[in-house]
Symmetry: C2
Subunit: 337 residues, 2 copies
Amino acid sequence: MATESNRRIVLAARPAGAPKESDLRLEEGPVPQPADGELLVRTIWLSLDPYMRLRMGTEVRYYPPIPIGEVIVGGAVSRVVESRHPAFAPGDIVDDYTGWQDYAIAQGASARKVDPALGPLSTAIGVLGMPGLTAYLGLVKVGRPAPGDTVVISAAAGAVGAVAGQVAKIAGCRVVGIAGGEEKLAYLTGELGFDAAVDRHGNDVPGALAAACPDGVDVYFENVGGPIGDAVYPLLAHGARVVICGGISHYNATEPPRTASHLAPILFTEAEVKGFNIFSYAAHYEHARRRLARWLAEGRLAYREDIVEGLENAPAAFQRLFDGRNFGKLLVRVSAE
Amino acid sequence: MATESNRRIVLAARPAGAPKESDLRLEEGPVPQPADGELLVRTIWLSLDPYMRLRMGTEVRYYPPIPIGEVIVGGAVSRVVESRHPAFAPGDIVDDYTGWQDYAIAQGASARKVDPALGPLSTAIGVLGMPGLTAYLGLVKVGRPAPGDTVVISAAAGAVGAVAGQVAKIAGCRVVGIAGGEEKLAYLTGELGFDAAVDRHGNDVPGALAAACPDGVDVYFENVGGPIGDAVYPLLAHGARVVICGGISHYNATEPPRTASHLAPILFTEAEVKGFNIFSYAAHYEHARRRLARWLAEGRLAYREDIVEGLENAPAAFQRLFDGRNFGKLLVRVSAE
């Protein structure tokens, strides 16, 4: 290992508004050495997710902000290079929050061994990983879909939304996705089997959404916020559940965002609106993952990947999460499988 | 009965903004005759409540709008004058939604017989009636207060808020009330035993509230909305519950209200925000009423009444609910007990 160096992408500056490439910096350093109980791993697939933007700010968002100069947080699928933990051997594939770097130290006590039989390795951080678990558990635990319910999903073509919508279909629901542009809409109603799709760039999003939800909205899976959320709340049906899973339209905001008041729709429908954080549902991960893996094997769960080649291209790719150019689970291929 | 007439206050016009006296009209007509299964009752105490404003509008708010020319809805304590139902006899005291009028027909199948031993008759539509049940069940079923929680209540000196806060004290919580003016604040921290009170007219409501809630807000009992709610959401503690019981600052709005976005505080605290409608909890009324009556008898539940003399003065009094002049449960004495 001594001849190799480790490339790491660190936080150079806290973004003001949308993240810029100059907010991140590629550094090189020595490959780290594992201590007892640790693993040295080499990153194969790095996941790029909206929550990382929150960790670049100054507020505690789930976890404290990333310090300036520290490697950017991120889930990754990696291969064990050296193991000092009895449960792992070189060559094992693991999934852990090892960050934007070629090599990392993983803790044997917390790293998860990936079963390659469940699907392609990249799915361990996609449809069978954090995004898939977020979709399944957010929908099931907070959204509590009943057969016949109308389920609306924003950012529906995204890594979380696409799984949430397909699970809602399996649950016997009418599923309406909101996404941007014809290609994504066609994907939702075609490959993913949604019942309807609404273009967030359309002239009359509230009208289009109302037409797609003639019986109102029983479950709203919120990933976006802002005007998209505002179009949904007036359509809530009695007893609706709103899963506040994310609010990507807010993540780059430099002023406190204002929206339509949602008080009246919540009050008069007795709706329940609840924040959802996947990390609070860790006890359910394996149960949920087995279900998702079965549906994947049965061909009932489609997914799409948006693959970027090379760690050095991660900063530019990250921006695409926020401007709608990303289509499918955004992954960086850091090294060959 | 033939020599008496029945005075009724009917909806003359749908209010635009704050209700005006001219939106309501006093009419006289014959005293109605009960059919089989019905009761003729004479109103003693009429309750004036904010929800009535909603029923004067054009939207379905719990129930359809009151038609123009129809009597205004309202809960009342009345005496049975004539009974054509076997469970009731003349002289019985009943509580039903008989409206703003001297005499009314009540249905024997739905009217509730009031037990005068539980408290003064007026409490049957106050601390032991809909406002008290709303406070108790909203707090307990949706707010789910745990001992040690900080509970914030808006419109805390109102008929609902005052009971909610006292029940939260009984539940072992730190209770912070928001109300307008020194007299109400002194009432909250004095007679009602709240831990702190914040003046909604203060220069820095968010700052005062933050100072009163050093550990954040675990339960917010929302009766107001608008800027008052906006001051509370950023203080939500992890796992907070928000009981959306009312939003009086919205009821006279002529434009769709806008507020600060509550998405981020809900998302990052995993808070639960739920609309509460007392009518969905009817199965729990008697259980809750017995508890409230016991605390009332034990001197653990204080209440205050704001009494208006005469049905003809109800329209003017109703406006006081919306401008902060009302202090205590607003009641109209329609006839002597």
